[in-house]
């Protein structure tokens, strides 16, 4: 019975199909990143962000025209779920902000401004630097911990590296899809987005480590077993857990999406993409990469290449 279940779920054997799926998604994301790019929020590229709530209905085009008349032609306008407008301008000082508000009130009637933020270029530069350092430190910390946790296994460094590849995979998927969404919905990369990416990194590794833990245990039970079989069995045995935990986490994140609007939509969107990508990568990418590395399968891949430069020396 058990053997049958495990044969039905030959995850390890389908590894190249999984790599292909991931590769396509990441490739589309990278194309979008290179063409559309990411719109950075005020935290990362400085400027002012006003949330404006008009009492009467104002169309987006009217608002854009009015802003252009007021000398703010280079603005990004985004409509929130609550019907407010987010207006992103260059950095405004107090007088410029007052002039802008007065100009809009003269045109569209009374407005309220629930939120305003303004960031100088100096702060923006510091923020970018710190965010980059944070992601790098997180990756190194995880690599070291996973390598240490699997120190009694043969080649513990493989586990750490594969966990890192899986988390880079998740971060790339999230960045790529966010770039596409950003292009369509005018979403900007802000502090919430970075928080989401780091949370996804933590979540992804968390999932990966659970499966690696099972591989560690199963290898100890049967030292002579075929590595690929052990990896596949471990994935199948933990499949229920992987899916259930992702489901419970997705449930609460979706609740956040539906009830808490625009302010944390970036966080929520990144978490949803990240949880799905993280579940996929921890089941289909990280453990199967261990198999690829164990069998040194890149040699096979290289031998498929048309130029066969790997065999040039023969």
């Amino acid at each position: 019975m058990h053997g049958l279940v495990k044969k039905m779920f030959d995850i390890a054997g389908k590894r190249f199909q999984f790599f292909l799926i991931s590769g396509v998604v990441i490739l589309i994301g990278i194309i979008s990143l290179l063409t559309v790019g990411l719109k950075t929020g005020v935290e990362f590229s400085s400027g002012s962000l006003l949330t404006v709530d008009f009492e009467q209905a104002v169309a987006r085009d009217e608002l854009k025209a009015a802003l252009a008349d007021l000398g703010h032609s280079n603005v990004i306008i985004q409509r929130t779920g609550a019907g407010d407008y987010l207006i992103r301008t260059r950095e405004l000082n107090d007088e410029e902000k007052k002039a802008l508000e007065a100009g809009l009130e003269a045109r569209f009637g009374k407005l309220t401004e629930p939120e305003f933020s303004s960031v100088s270029p100096m702060i923006a530069t510091e923020t970018v630097r710190t965010a980059v350092i944070a992601v790098a430190v997180a990756a190194v910390g995880i690599l070291l911990y996973v390598t240490w946790a699997f120190r009694r296994m043969p080649r513990p460094f493989h586990y750490g590296t594969c966990a890192i590849i899986a988390l880079i995979h998740d971060a790339l998927v999230a960045l790529g899809i966010f770039s596409i969404l950003g292009g369509i919905l005018n979403w900007q990369v802000n502090m919430m987005f970075i928080t989401g990416i780091l949370a996804v990194i933590g979540y992804s590794v968390n999932n990966t480590v659970v499966i690696f833990d099972r591989i560690r245990e199963n290898l100890r039970l049967d030292i002579n077993a075929d590595f690929e079989t052990v990896v596949n069995n471990s994935m199948v045995e933990t499949l229920g857990r992987s899916i259930n935990t992702s489901l419970t986490t997705l449930i609460v994140v979706l609740a956040l999406l539906f009830f808490v609007g625009a302010t944390i939509q970036n966080l929520v969107a990144v978490l949803i993409i990240g949880i799905i990508a993280g579940t996929f990568s921890s089941i289909c990418i990280a453990p199967t990469l261990l198999v690829v590395w164990d069998k040194k399968e890149w040699r096979r891949f290289i031998s498929w290449l048309p130029f066969r430069w790997a065999k040039a020396g023969e």
Binding site: G202, Y203, E217, F259
Partner: protein, 440 residues
């Protein structure tokens, strides 16, 4: 039922009771949750100090002086729990929670609040212009301004009910004033605030004609009562000794904050209910017990938030809600393990113990990686300007992860053990999805 299990159960119940009491009643001086600026509304500003006019070695003193002045000015506004502190060596952080008159507050903080007295001089082009009134005192040319006021200005009304702002010169100011006013008898004296002409109640610049030499006290007439009082408070609070430029500004209206709280409470409650339904449907009795552990988890985490206290931001609440989903992870790991053990024909008691023991390494290693990420996020959040949401998210997630390990490992196990040897324990299918069918 072992005595040890009963003791653990009593400790768990006591902890839970304590958490509920802490949440419902004021305890250790904490009456409510501490809410961040995005939930209470308010201002978060960072100012960059410009030391170019300050002598070398005096920078620290100048910025401390500026902080003291800002503190006094904010006292005028009557904000509760304001934060005014130095960041690094050359920045000042100002947080004013719950404030609704954001523009007024910003104006008050940013003002140099220097009243200058100027005289009319004929300029090179033939027209007249206001230039600072100066006098040579002790061999140095000094401008006449409010830097020489004693900090005891006050507002009063004259015989005709006119509003008067009364000030007194200090000893140096007295000498400058005597010389300037002695020279300008019969001439107008222009009054300027922060470089702009000071406008009176009637909208015209205030520029009285000097009638006699002024040596000790002077008065400014023509302001509205409100303006005069504000100015008097501002002058008494002192002058900020160096230029400050705002480099970060985050303003949230209190109304928006209240909306956020309602929305996130709704999201949290619905999220918890859905997770509970899922756990009960899938893991049956075990799932139901995990839900009890989840309630325990929620009460403990919220009590820690309140008593520590953790400053709750919108992102922090997001972190807490996400941690609910992850909190059941340890239980899911354990139950999946139990299912496997029950399939191999073990009794419920043996399956529980084996399930917990064998799931432990996975729970430990996976949570440590999350903890590493949380610690890095807390560091990032505290080291960048405007990083409060990041730190808020990470702190709540970190507390959530730690408490969830405890609730899954101790609480769920203790509850499950209550069933061992009982009438239900033979029906292992009640404790784990599909476990029974495998044995048929």
């Amino acid at each position: 039922m072992s005595t040890r299990n009963l003791i653990t159960l009593s400790i768990v119940m006591a902890l839970f009771a304590f958490a509920v009491i802490a949440l419902l009643y004021p305890l250790f001086g904490r009456e409510t949750m501490r809410l961040g600026l995005d939930l209470r509304g308010g201002i978060h500003m960072v100012y960059q100090a410009d030391f170019s006019d300050i002598e070398k070695g005096q920078e620290g003193e100048a910025i401390d002086g500026a902080i003291a002045v800002i503190e006094r000015r904010i006292n005028i506004l009557g904000v509760t729990e304001p934060v005014i502190q130095k960041q690094g060596t050359d920045r000042i952080l100002v947080e004013l929670p719950g404030i609704s008159e954001a523009d007024k507050a910003k104006k008050l903080i940013g003002q140099t609040a220097l009243i200058e007295f100027r005289e009319l001089k004929t300029s090179a082009g033939g027209g007249e212009e206001w230039v600072p009134a100066t006098a040579v005192v002790n061999g140095q040319e000094k401008e006449l301004n409010s830097a020489f006021f004693k900090e005891n200005t006050y507002v009063t009304t004259g015989q005709l009910g006119e509003v008067l702002l009364v000030f007194e010169w200090n000893s140096e100011g007295k000498k400058i004033s005597e010389e300037v006013t002695g020279r300008l008898i019969g001439e107008p004296l222009g009054i300027f605030l922060s470089g702009e002409p000071l406008l009176g109640d009637d909208g015209k610049p205030i520029a009285p004609i000097v009638r006699s030499k002024i040596s000790d006290r002077g008065q400014i007439e023509g302001l509205s009562l409100n303006e005069a009082q504000e100015l008097s408070q501002l002058l008494n609070a002192g002058r900020i000794p160096l230029p400050l430029t705002p480099i970060y500004d985050q303003t949230v209206s209190p109304v928006l904050g209240a909306d956020f709280i309602n929305m996130s409470v709704k999201a949290g409650v619905i999220g918890i209910i859905l997770v509970m339904l899922f756990m009960t449907a899938y893991y049956r009795v075990s799932g139901f017990l995990a839900n009890l552990a989840l309630i325990f988890y929620g009460a403990i985490v919220l009590a820690i938030f309140k008593l520590w206290p953790v400053t709750l931001t919108l992102a922090g609440i997001g972190g807490f809600i996400v941690s609910i989903g992850m909190a059941v992870d340890a239980n899911v790991l354990i139950f999946e393990r139990m299912k496997e053990e029950i399939r191999t024909g073990r009794t419920l008691g043996a399956a529980i113990e084996a399930g917990f023991n064998r799931a432990w390494t996975a729970i430990r290693d996976s949570n440590i990686t999350t903890i590493i990420v949380c610690l890095i996020l807390i560091w990032v959040g505290n080291s960048i300007v405007g990083g409060a949401p990041v730190a808020g998210f990470a702190i709540t997630l970190l507390i959530g992860v730690l408490v969830s390990m405890f609730s899954a490992i101790v609480v769920t196990r203790t509850l499950l053990r209550l069933f061992v040897g009982g009438p239900l324990s033979k029906r292992t299918y009640l404790f784990s999805a599909w476990a029974g069918k495998e044995n048929v």
